[in-house]
Symmetry: D2
Amino acid sequence: MRPIELRSDNSAGVPDPILDAIHSANAGSALAYGADEVTARLEARVREVFEHPTARVFPVTSGTAGNALGLSSLSPPWGAVMCHETAHILNAEANATSLLSSGAQMIGLAGDDHQIAVDSLRAALDGAGWDDPHHTQPAVLSFTQPTDMGTVYPIEVISELCSVARASGLRAHLDGARLANAISSLGCAPADVTWRAGIDVFTLGATKNGAMSAEAIVSFDDAASKELVYRTKRSGHVTSKMRFQSAQIEAYLTDGLWLRLAANSNEMMRRLSDGLSALDVEVANRVDANMAFLRLPDEVIDRLEADDLLFYRIAPGVIRFVTSWQTTVDDVDAALDRMSKALHHETATPARAVDPVPAAGR
Amino acid sequence: MRPIELRSDNSAGVPDPILDAIHSANAGSALAYGADEVTARLEARVREVFEHPTARVFPVTSGTAGNALGLSSLSPPWGAVMCHETAHILNAEANATSLLSSGAQMIGLAGDDHQIAVDSLRAALDGAGWDDPHHTQPAVLSFTQPTDMGTVYPIEVISELCSVARASGLRAHLDGARLANAISSLGCAPADVTWRAGIDVFTLGATKNGAMSAEAIVSFDDAASKELVYRTKRSGHVTSKMRFQSAQIEAYLTDGLWLRLAANSNEMMRRLSDGLSALDVEVANRVDANMAFLRLPDEVIDRLEADDLLFYRIAPGVIRFVTSWQTTVDDVDAALDRMSKALHHETATPARAVDPVPAAGR
Amino acid sequence: MRPIELRSDNSAGVPDPILDAIHSANAGSALAYGADEVTARLEARVREVFEHPTARVFPVTSGTAGNALGLSSLSPPWGAVMCHETAHILNAEANATSLLSSGAQMIGLAGDDHQIAVDSLRAALDGAGWDDPHHTQPAVLSFTQPTDMGTVYPIEVISELCSVARASGLRAHLDGARLANAISSLGCAPADVTWRAGIDVFTLGATKNGAMSAEAIVSFDDAASKELVYRTKRSGHVTSKMRFQSAQIEAYLTDGLWLRLAANSNEMMRRLSDGLSALDVEVANRVDANMAFLRLPDEVIDRLEADDLLFYRIAPGVIRFVTSWQTTVDDVDAALDRMSKALHHETATPARAVDPVPAAGR
Amino acid sequence: MRPIELRSDNSAGVPDPILDAIHSANAGSALAYGADEVTARLEARVREVFEHPTARVFPVTSGTAGNALGLSSLSPPWGAVMCHETAHILNAEANATSLLSSGAQMIGLAGDDHQIAVDSLRAALDGAGWDDPHHTQPAVLSFTQPTDMGTVYPIEVISELCSVARASGLRAHLDGARLANAISSLGCAPADVTWRAGIDVFTLGATKNGAMSAEAIVSFDDAASKELVYRTKRSGHVTSKMRFQSAQIEAYLTDGLWLRLAANSNEMMRRLSDGLSALDVEVANRVDANMAFLRLPDEVIDRLEADDLLFYRIAPGVIRFVTSWQTTVDDVDAALDRMSKALHHETATPARAVDPVPAAGR
């Protein structure tokens, strides 16, 4: 059968406007290491899109780099980064933040729907050993937006958490690996869910939503921006032909491309989850963006796999579906059709070996 | 006038075969983080081109990342990396190696033509405080090939230096930011100047010679390879859509593209330096590859700049020309023509402000 | 009233045999940095006391240094150190392990009595992302013996946990800040609770039990020992007049001094907790060594403080008593007498301001 | 024969007033980790002796710790520390500064008498790649006072160098491993050679001049002081029974003890070098403090060694003599007598094996 890709938005390709931008950037020669015109234009575009006159943008090539460098510009080596206990930065980035910040500690907080609860944050701040050098000092509050479970923080929750954090001297960071999906879901302005809500530095997250190898750190904090000039270089994240990354992100942010791409993945997920509900499949998470976690009998999961539906197994009896900018109505309908058959034992395809599922795939 | 680009091969664009490879990689979906078919094919290609059955390749996105990570896989935190006192890793990579190796020290050695002299190496090894924890322990010998002055190490010199180093327990690393230019200049097999000469780990250096944001670490050392799996990830150098980098490097290494691109830049530099000699311009370095350093009166330099010749000022009275895969015979001849006029005061163009020259541009 | 010291064994002084050893070491001159005779004798003594022919000893000056350096010799930078979720290394050492190991992550495991449960360890090992570079790789299992709650791990529990860990390739570490109290409580040979149970490297923990500024790392693992030679130096933990530390630890380990000192603190705690039980005071922990946590009404706590009983407030309604080698029967009986009065409102002393309690004091 | 100790002041013991202070500190109990009265008194004493109302003092246990932590509080991870090319921090501290600062680079400057020349500093600052992230950014100027060659910087030279450095935004650090010898030699106030000359942070250096395991960082810079609270702890340099170190340093700085001890070593070196001159022995350095480097035929060196004169061989034909607070007139006269005999072949003692000379001994 035709494989249907629902493993990760990371598995998707690159849309034409971004490829076109790469071609355009290839005309003529340019200064290296970001001293080129495309990168200058990108910064102007970021300031316009995020409505912030002094925002700085630092193209990098992975989300892990974006998060770890962004956090390291906000935390001293003896700082603590508070995040949800299921946060990607805590569980799936190989402790990169500790390497690049030279020792900052990540502290996981509890909360429903994979979102930090205000009470958890307050309790952690109350119990921190402030000014006691035996303890790391809370320095940053970090959000994953949307969370790794596909739930989107409401703006007012981010605002409240940022206020609580700021009252104790912390700054705020956002891992926006799927930020466009959150903005599209919230229907808000990009500024509303970032600096207006209290975020100082965030990872823009273009790759999952269509870029090729282009992520970016955006900083609204001048002190962090100054550090990032050096931190990006000394960790090897200043590429010499930066214009090709900048061109991708510029195109991504132009004419709302990023939000249109995200709107598609969100909409396809809505169609998919509606169809799953109609089939009485249990969806374990609140479907706010482009991700669903399903509880299914293992033999149904095996049949789906045998029918070339591509997805990740999260735990026994739990699988994950992720839609992308590339997912089509046909994909969704075909997926639902195979699900229906798998639920009703109608497949005759023998089981076959599947690709190993990377535990950190998201 | 039409600008002639001689600032850096970093300023050049991307040739069609590499762009085509990106387009091909964009078909269908693929697993992220290097678990894709293109990356698997790349490793096979590297093994074939370098004639080494267990070579591993780790795509990264900058030369600094390639060098610092490669070195960190060869040196303990208390190790010393010995290199020429003018080496790029020592002078222009922001001490990235010290960050990513957690403290290794770089020790500069003397030698003519920006190449490590065997006697300097022997003296440094003799004087090292072996087994004395007050001193970092020599762990790696690192070559820049070609050097930042455009000279190419002969194979037998690399072999001899590696032998001396290995006798003291060191492993050998090569910064191949322009490796293809060296191989083209030497007319040797890629294996001859790498593992057959004693190199354990090297940076492949595709970007200056035509790739977009694609460098790679190649390791012939199993212990280093094992570390690199983790070191690349935790420093944020494992991109999620790695297939697009892998595709570039695969194309680069296929059908000798890399060597043809480098042959052009070397040949254009030869034509340029021959022409400069004919004009009695003093070239300060041995022109082995695609780089020339010229001594000129400052007013001549100003006139060249006014005539839209693009180059870097290295010091008062010293400028640098670099040719690239994109440099044409017309470019070279036009540059020589402008040089001739600048030497003979024939220009009437008023001086204009120039771009600031990044000191680390190479 | 006469103050009764029950805050911490850290608050105690230094017994005569250790002071005498310092005086003896002061005769004549000696080579610096551990190349002296006293340090050589110390190593011989450690091998004898721990019945291990190749044990190495590295004098350091704090428990934090001992633990963080010991752990860094057992974990790669991308490793994970598994310990109880209340472990001192995780909660009260300022993430020193992450600094000195260059990024290792500490993972807290659950278990009663502040001791790692075998099931928790198995579950954590099963769920680790083995060989997946997105995840830190479990490398070390670390015990606090006794725990920060004053409970002592039985030898067979340590053995079982070490076996489980070793089967997955981990090595084992022990934070022995109060190791002598554990050995005295268990009545076992020092080897039984260290290498015979599976421990590779441990912190000896002399300071709380009588030394002045003398801790030591003991390693039974040759690879770790080799690293420690360099790791201790480059973190500034090789003192020039090391003989004065070595002399203290030599005296400490000679003729069972360490076990006699610990036996006193354990015995005094037993007398104290028996007396508290007779007064119907609730002791929250199992009293295996020299530490008790009491639940008391806040007004009783205030009265105790007003009566010059020195202790730490751990939380509202919870205080901690620690006895030391210096605690006497008179101290214990006076403490019980004041407790009895405080419980029965007999004190007339007005409340007074107290020293701020360092949260990390232990 | 009676051994005469001239290897290092590190080899000397501890004078009575410091031992007495340890005994006094042993009375009663005290809060741990520096929250004790002795440590509070020490800070008051430092402020008095250095005539600075906000100076902070951080007891540590080694000179390497003092220097590396002090420097790390003055340099960002991407900073450069400028020092003489023979400085101890560059050549004999295992790159500890790079570990504890998370990557700062040390840059050696030239200058006669092992002292930084103003012109070298100016040239290095002019050539630094300011604001260019490819280059580490000059952040600290560090002096060794006296130098490892026993020469003392005149106050006005320190002032001038600090002025030049400060004009470029650098702060100044002093490695005072033998600071008392310098102050005694200069006959100045302690403030004159530290903050009044422009020093922000320095290592006090008590151990070589009589303390047991007691060094200290003194900071006049509030921002550095704030960092040092955390930096000392997380590197394991906050000892629990800190009062014993504080007591030593307090006694050391009381009633001019430190300067009297240093005056003795300086005076004994003067007597020794005068005697050597009278014997026509070539002294290679300017003898400003307690150290002399002698050029002698190797057979003379062998005879001295055979006669139980204890010293270090620095290079073939070069040995080093260091006097200490403990060196007596008898020691000096005996050393001169043996030298005289060795020069005139009068010894009959057969050569014997000598201790290996630690290359980093100073």
